[in-house]
């Protein structure tokens, strides 16, 4: 059986005027259906670039990326939009919910783009929100929700079109550790139900909840293990600086559009 995700020799170079930066160098790996993978690395290691490429938000400079049997290499903007819609569910650090839009409408949005009839998508959005414990906050606006609740709405939204994988980029980065752990609990739960999850983080404690850890450093894969014994050795250098609560709070406010 073919793997769900195949990344072959991916290189990404950013051309920022005079200076070009090599963000990823010859990265290859595969992810099977049902895996729970954490991608770890310090800031500037290229993990965000990798996340953007996996999420079809950006295209690699060279190399092949196949998701669910579809090679995205030569796809145009609209075809990529369709892949993002049907194959990928995003959970962002800054939640990225539409402001002034109720939870249920936020969760419905990907289904609206997929052309699911309104009645059906509202029904499904309701179920999804109930499954993340927000059955009583269907019509709350993001501004009326706590950070943890917003992220749960985002998770519900990521599952809306029943995508092949859920891509989570620092989903706990803006949350206090208790709420962060609750979010990871939800991911664990989803994984148990068979969802494939790719989690990008620089937090060791969170990475260790995954079943496989891919470490990235300077744009290269430096470790890929499913062995729990190896987990202890994983140390994320430098940026491992956890932002203190005050700073986190500031970010939270700023990022909530």
């Amino acid at each position: 059986m073919k793997p769900l995700i195949e990344v072959k020799n991916i290189t990404k170079i950013y051309n920022g005027g005079e200076v070009s930066t090599q963000a990823l160098t010859d990265v290859s790996f595969e992810i099977e259906k049902g895996e729970f993978v954490a991608v770890v690395g310090p800031s500037g290691s290229g993990k965000s670039t990798l996340m953007h490429i996996l999420g079809c938000l950006d295209v690699p400079t060279s190399g092949t990326y196949i998701i669910n049997g579809k090679n995205v290499e030569h796809m145009n903007d609209d075809e990529l939009a369709e892949i993002r819609n049907k194959e990928i569910g995003f959970v962002f650090q800054a939640y990225n919910l539409l402001s002034r839009t109720s939870s249920i409408k936020n969760v419905s949005l990907p289904m609206a783009y997929a052309g699911v009839p309104k009645k059906e998508r509202t029904e499904r959005a309701k179920q999804l929100l109930e499954s993340v414990g927000l059955g009583n906050k269907l019509y709350n606006m993001p501004s009326q929700l706590s950070g943890g609740e917003r992220q749960r709405v985002a998770i519900a939204r990521s599952m809306a079109t029943d995508p092949s994988i859920i891509l989570a980029d620092e989903p706990t980065g803006n949350l206090a550790s208790k709420q962060g752990m609750e979010i990871i609990d939800i991911f664990e739960e989803l994984n148990k139900k068979g969802h494939t999850i790719v989690l990008i983080t620089h937090d060791e404690d969170i990475a260790k909840r995954a079943k496989r850890i891919i470490s990235i450093m300077d744009g290269k894969i430096v470790g890929d293990t499913k062995n729990e014994k190896d987990y202890k050795r994983i140390k994320i250098p430098a940026e491992g600086t956890k932002i203190d609560n005050k700073e986190r709070h500031k970010n939270e406010n700023k990022r909530n559009i």
């Binding site: 938000l57 049907k86 539409l98 949005l109 783009y113 052309g115 990022r255």
Partner: protein
Amino acid sequence: MIIRKGIKMKISEIFEEGISVLKNNKMRTALSALGIIIGIGSVIALMTLGQASQESVKERIQSLGSNLLTVYPGSTQSGFLRGGAGEAKTLTYEDALEIEKSPRITTIDGVAASYSSRSQISYGQNNMNTNIIGITPKYFSLRNIKVEYGSEISQSDLDNLSKIAVIGPGVVEELFPNTPNPIGQNIRINGSSFTIVGITESKGSEMMGTNDSVFIPLTTAQKILFGENHISNIYVRAKSEDLMDAAMNQIGFLLLELHGLESPDKADFRISSQEEIIETVNEVTGTFTTLLTGIAAISLVVGGIGIMNIMLVTVTERTREIGIRKALGAKRKTIITQFLVESIILTVAGGVLGVITGIGASIIFTKIMNLPTVISTSSILLAVGVSCLIGIVFGWYPAQRASKLQPVDALRYE
């Protein structure tokens, strides 16, 4: 879960979303729509006013009699000096009689002649200076003047040089402020005594009104009062509107022959129809209407630029939102549609309110200026169409810009 083939969001849902976005920014929406409201409103108001004044002029001219041709004497010419039109003494009562009798003129069903001059009239202590018009019997029916009380002027009055008068309601007011029924009373015109036999109906327009006129038999005016042989005008009614040109030609050639002239460019008279007058007036008012509407249209364009400006601000402001939408699977077309729909809602809402404002303003203005209110549906449809078009034209660029944003960059935008 049913997923339709391709990614398609229903346009009605995009509309719903657009409306809710605009509702969230009420002040901004209202202000940017205001430009369109004013633009469309003034275009409609001015178009309506223009049409109303044309309509009013047409009505007034037609109220002077239908299918009417008027023959004026030509301008006097002595050597190289050319006098003013209408001053010549080239038309006579005989000309009018010839036109009526001639078997060659087949296109008319009524002829009247008139001689008019200003004179002093008095009754007791009251007096006024007014228009004395000597007329033939058909004058009233041709000029569409009704005699409300008493009798008209008959052929026998002309034959007998009767000293009788039919007066307008203005004259009654002026000379008989305390006499309830002036019929049978005698007034003095230029020293001669005339018996009042009738009073004409009040005729609305002051400009070309006959309210202050005194009508007397033509022959009496010529021979007794003023001692003149010529007449001022001949009025001819054509059998139908289509025959007016033919009638004009027939009368023209007959008069040339009667006056012993060889070619039309030597004519010592002039024939005009109401249509000509209406056309001239319409040309003038039309030019004004176009000019004013043009100015109003400029304000409409300014309104459109306002919309474009706001939409551009909106795109920048909502960069992150666009990024989210794209990440969730919105295609370029969907984003374009969303922004276009928003600007179209803005302009069409502005357009509809503008139409209402414009109609309101038209009704008020036409009431004040005492004009008929004619609101053409075509101008309303045009206005709504134009505002829709403005939405598309000025919304296109911002929408394009939004759709071209790369999701990665858009999501990074703070």
